[in-house]
């Protein structure tokens, strides 16, 4: 099992995405190529059929011209238009005006022989215009044997070609993915190393400091230990934030029902030492416990960043209050506050986060991304030199 997977990072997912994208494009191209060839084949078959039928239609046309000639000669005696069960006809004069037709036929002068709506048409220009007929159109029904045969062939060869191309595509894909797989292994190794090299010692420091019974230490040493604790936690936070930002898309969300009160209390305890350095008091105000369905790590990251900002931008000996109510939690500080015009800017950044928000720190971008993922709305109330209240509701 890949280390990345155990860390909650799914590279297989990105491989699958690449695979899917490549396959979609490949299939689309294959379908286009098959369609083009099918179209060409269909037209060739149609032309072949028309050429085969041409002699029959020409024979009919000759017969009809003979009948028309007779009618022309004896027009004063009879006006019965020559008809035949095998074909239909229409005659048009040189100004394309219909003289007579045995059925509904339109004149098309762009082609001599053509297929339209299941009928084959032959346009003939006789040597003499009997009864003024410059254009004679003979129409017969297409038996469509060729059409069924062509359709069968297209389906059969299309399917065979498609399957063949699919196999080729799969082989090509395996070849293309090889460098990506190698890169994944390399990255996997790198993550394995960095986690061991960086995260483990930091976590060790934090864990060991927590185990020290500070009451037995003298005040000087206690202060030093606290500073080490703060430093280690800060490094740990930065490490987690960076990991989150870099691997954001590859982090698997393990969504679950989170007890917000419990989470708030956990994070307050974690941040107490950091707050203490600035003599800040953190209070929690649980109005009503609530539950959020999300990934615990991500919500905790969001809360950490809000708390971290509240500490960072607070005054010395200030206070922070965490409120928990129905489908909402908020972090209120007694800090420097944010100017009115800046609140809208920050909120805009929350809505449309982009990479240029460097001035607001990476914490904000993480909050924004997590809020976006879980469709959380973020509301900022602030008064300069009084404090800021950031509320998260869902």
């Amino acid at each position: 099992m890949l280390v990345s997977k155990s860390l909650g990072i799914d590279f297989r997912q990105s491989e699958k995405q690449t695979l899917l994208r490549f396959l979609s494009l490949y299939i689309l191209l294959t379908v286009i190529i098959i369609s083009v060839f099918s179209f060409i084949y269909f037209n060739l078959q149609k032309d072949l059929m028309l050429q085969q039928k041409k002699s029959t239609l020409q024979k009919y046309s000759k017969e009809f011209v003979g009948d028309l000639k007779l009618l022309h000669t004896y027009f004063d005696k009879t006006q019965i238009y020559p008809r035949d069960d095998r074909y239909d006809t229409a005659i048009f004069d040189s100004s394309n005006k219909l003289i007579f037709s045995s059925t509904d036929i339109k004149l098309r002068k762009d082609k001599i022989l053509y297929l339209e709506d299941g009928y084959i048409y032959l346009v003939n220009i006789p040597e003499a215009y009997y009864l003024g007929a410059r254009y004679i159109i003979v129409k017969v029904k297409d038996d469509e044997i060729w059409l069924n045969h062509t359709k069968q062939n297209i389906l059969l060869f299309g399917a065979i070609t498609f399957l063949f191309m699919l196999v080729i595509g799969y082989i090509l894909l395996r070849l293309f993915l090889k460098p990506m797989r190698d890169a994944i292994s390399l990255l996997d190794e790198f993550i394995k190393d960095t986690t061991h090299e960086l995260n483990t010692p930091v976590s060790n420091i934090v864990a060991n400091i927590e185990m020290i019974d500070k009451s037995k230490l003298d005040e000087g040493l206690q202060k030093k230990i606290d500073r080490i604790d703060i430093g280690a936690k800060t490094v740990s936070n930065i490490y987690q934030d960076l990991t989150y930002l870099i691997l954001e898309n590859k982090l698997i969300s393990n969504n679950e029902d989170i007890d917000v009160e419990q989470l708030v209390l956990e994070r307050v305890e974690y941040f107490t030492s950091l707050a203490k350095a600035k003599q800040i008091t953190i209070n929690s105000n649980i109005i009503e416990n609530t539950i959020i369905y999300a990934d615990k790590f991500k919500i905790s990251k969001l809360l950490d960043n809000l708390l971290s900002n509240a500490i960072k931008y607070n005054k010395v000996a200030g206070d922070i209050t965490l409120h928990v109510e129905h489908r909402k939690f908020s972090v209120e500080d007694s800090g420097i506050g944010i100017a009115k015009e800046d609140i809208s800017k920050i909120q805009e950044r929350y809505k449309r986060f982009n990479k240029s928000s460097g001035g607001f720190g990476i914490g904000l971008s993480i909050v924004s991304k997590i809020a976006k993922e879980y469709n959380l709305s973020i509301d900022i109330e602030s008064k300069e030199r009084v404090g800021t209240k950031v509320s998260v509701s869902w």
Partner: protein, 110 residues
């Protein structure tokens, strides 16, 4: 009222046209070896459409010539070609229109 006047005028014109045709065409052709309709169908055989047939007829009547005739060489040799028309432009047009309406194929085939 206006409609009535227009109708009367139209009828008069058509009668006048019929008169021109009857007096100037049929009168002579009834004595000719070929009935008058045969000439019409010969024109149709060569010129096909109404406009082309009428133009060809008018042109021939104005300037009769062996080369532009639609009749066979034998016929021309036996009976010669007709004299130049004495009708003016309007009269000629009226006569030809009547001639066309009388023998046209449109609406006659069954």
């Amino acid at each position: 009222m206006v409609k009535k006047i227009v109708l009367v005028l139209l009828l008069m014109v058509s009668f006048l046209g019929a008169d021109v045709y009857e007096n100037n065409c049929v009168n002579c052709h009834k004595n000719s070896p070929q009935s008058i309709d045969k000439y019409f169908y010969n024109y149709l055989l060569v010129y096909s459409s109404e406009t082309d047939v009428k133009n060809a007829m008018i042109s021939y009547l104005k300037y009769p010539a062996k080369e532009t005739s639609v009749m066979s060489d034998e016929f021309i040799e036996s009976f010669g070609i007709k004299k130049k028309t004495t009708l003016n432009k309007e009269q000629l047009k009226e006569a030809i229109d009547v001639y066309w309406d009388k023998y046209k194929v449109f609406g006659k085939l069954k």
